[in-house]
Symmetry: C2
Subunit: 414 residues, 2 copies
């Protein structure tokens, strides 16, 4: 069959406010990160399906004829987008040779690709020969939506290649977005990929990858904010994995306190031993998210003022204290906040915490030298650090002219 070639990209995601509180029924604000995942889909005549994922060193190819045998007899289960076709997932695991229970990034990425590929082309009679190459600016496994950006790119490129959705590119535009109906379809297929990778995802990450901008998430309901300002940030990865926290706590305990494990203790406190202390903190986080949403809205209807940024900074500081109260802080995050505050910049952790990543707000008037010095300070602490923006566009198609040279170079290698 004839398929359409394309290059697509989707943004990563961060939580601006409401991580953890969202689990307790409070509102969260999820934002797109202009660190993007790029996917190039090429038609081939090799009767092979190839996937190249240089970020995780995964390069595989299969004969189309072999893959054809995996297509379900009935497409009924594939058309039911409310859940996965478990039987197909099982067959794909066996086919690729993924041991039961294995959840590693490489296995999950391959499984998600094959599932979306087969889902989209199963109805077209024969599976097409093609090569998919993916390159991401996002670190993997850092809670920055690298998997959802990947799933969104897969869904958009494969739906486009199959002709299910048209190309949004016109002669005038080298980068363009799809219409609402097409994006909804992309989002639904991307969610299937997320289900394969994460088991029971909230759907927020793929929604951010699809719609971009800023999304409000509350009690399972996802609402994109209508207009959002683009905010400059530093995104920093402390590279402290979550589990290290327990180690640190363990060490601290041994120093002073006997057998208590602080991680467990905090969990106990947080999950209900002292609800009268913690529930108000969750209420305050909720109010922070609401105030932030309102402030962002004012920044788009009027012009952004220094006072708007004052509020955004204050909200970041307060929420960082609250996250410490919830027991998801880490000395590396405290250090990061201190280092950026010494440059006049305000930071909070984003996502799970206990290490992981943080965002640092940059003001429009923050000078380039301040940004450079801060990035250098943070790198000297051993952290990864990127200057980027939040509120960036969701999934897009690009003509090769509109893709950064370095990304094209990477994609061209495969």
């Amino acid at each position: 069959m004839h398929i359409k070639e394309c290059i697509v990209s989707a943004p990563g995601k961060a939580i601006l406010h409401g991580e953890h509180a969202v689990v307790h029924g409070k509102m969260a604000l999820a934002v797109s990160l202009n660190l993007r995942t790029y996917l190039q889909l090429q038609a081939t005549f090799t009767s092979k399906v190839c996937i190249n994922l240089p970020n995780i060193n995964a390069f595989l190819s299969w004969d189309v004829t072999v893959l054809n045998q995996l297509v379900p007899d009935s497409e009924a289960d594939l058309r039911n987008m409310d859940e996965l076709d478990i039987e197909l997932v099982r067959r794909l695991r066996d086919f690729v040779g993924i041991p039961n229970g294995a959840l590693d990034t490489r296995s999950m990425a391959i499984l998600a690709f094959l599932y979306i590929y087969i889902s989209i082309f199963a109805g077209s009679g024969e599976l097409p020969s093609l090569t998919v190459s993916v390159w991401s600016e996002l670190p993997t496994g850092a809670g920055l939506g690298s998997s959802s950006a990947y799933s969104v790119c897969l869904a958009a490129a494969l739906l486009s290649a199959s002709g299910t959705i048209p190309s949004p590119l016109s002669d005038q535009e080298n980068t363009a977005r799809w219409g609402v109906a097409e994006m909804e379809l992309i989002n639904r297929f991307a969610f299937q990929g997320e289900r394969i990778i994460h088991g029971n995802p909230s759907g927020v990450d793929n929604a951010v990858g699809t719609w971009g901008g800023i999304l409000r998430y509350h009690s399972g309901k996802i609402t994109p904010l209508s207009r959002v300002p683009m905010l400059r940030i530093l995104l920093t990865n402390t590279k402290v994995p979550r589990s290290t926290k327990v180690l640190v706590a363990g060490v601290k305990d041994k120093m002073n306190k006997g057998p208590k494990v602080i991680g467990q203790w905090t969990q106990k406190l947080f999950h209900g031993q002292f609800p009268s202390i913690i529930n108000p903190v969750l209420d305050s986080v909720d109010a922070i998210s609401c105030t932030c949403e309102q402030t962002l809205s004012e920044m788009t209807s009027d012009s952004p003022t220094p006072e708007h940024y004052d509020i955004l900074e204050e909200l970041i500081d307060i929420n960082q204290h609250h996250l410490n109260v919830m027991g998801v802080g880490h000395p590396a995050l405290d250090n990061l906040c201190r280092v950026t505050l010494a440059r006049g910049l305000h930071s909070k952790l984003t996502g799970a915490g206990g290490g992981g990543c943080a965002i640092t707000l940059l003001r429009p008037e923050t000078e380039h030298s301040v940004v450079q010095n801060t990035v250098q300070d943070l790198r000297e602490c051993g952290y990864d650090c990127w200057e980027t923006r939040i509120g960036a566009a969701g999934v897009q198609e690009h003509s090769p002219l509109a893709v950064k040279e370095e990304v094209l170079e990477v994609l061209a290698r495969y």
Copy 2:
């Protein structure tokens, strides 16, 4: 007239939980500090009234005959302990030569002494000749109740000297406390001293000085907890005065943000611009005070366990985060918390914050070497640091045998 000589002492005070929140109608826990103020009252035959306050380098004496002229014709106003005899205060200011509006420690201490002395002896026909010498282990002006300990000592010693209250000492006891009725009287006279020194005090400080232990303070009502455990703490004075905070904020602003003054901003936020964010934090502080009170109560009815100390530490950590949210933290306090946590110890600011003092909880099993090393670390930061206890006894009378040698030595110099 014949007067009775005595040595009395009263403890300082700290706020365990609820500073700032108490202003907004929440509960606070005030605790006595076993850093004490000692007062020796000696009868003399010099027809002089002398007061020696070596801590603040104030040594004064007056002729009794001159002081007699200041005694109000009617004692009605002096017997009304609900308010000060403003006319007497005015006459005393003129007499001592305190300029209008002067509120310095030395002037206030002298005024409080003369007021309480005249109030107590005015009814006895003639003012007695005596010398009062005071030595305090408390730093002055650090929010640790040095003025209330002073007022309590003055009230207790002068009431005792006048024969209004009996000595509680017996042959068996070298240190003893008065009965409830006597302590209530001491507390009322001490409150007059506090009124002179502070204008409109809450009455908590003199109540702590009188009753000792731990007091719950809520909406103007002061309730001593019936039984309290004695807790070991480090008390640290960062020696950062409150005003420095504004300076720091100003510097930070100039670095990054234009003309905003963070101190003012935080005040604005705290006092109502975002009540939905801050009010829950005050509720959480209230719950912290309640949980602390309950835990302390359990520690006296059962034996204290490591788990009790775990809770006390957790409450300290959470409240310190909340105080930062309220904008009364300071980099010196952050540093103090970090330094003590590195030794496995938990700290929070106490009192006004924005610098000032902090308390660090010591556990029963905290080794002497850990305490010593922590004290050394804190002193190397330029802070003053004392190992002491909270929950100590309130006002007491001592025989000279029961007073520490170094205190007796200081008192004996005058």
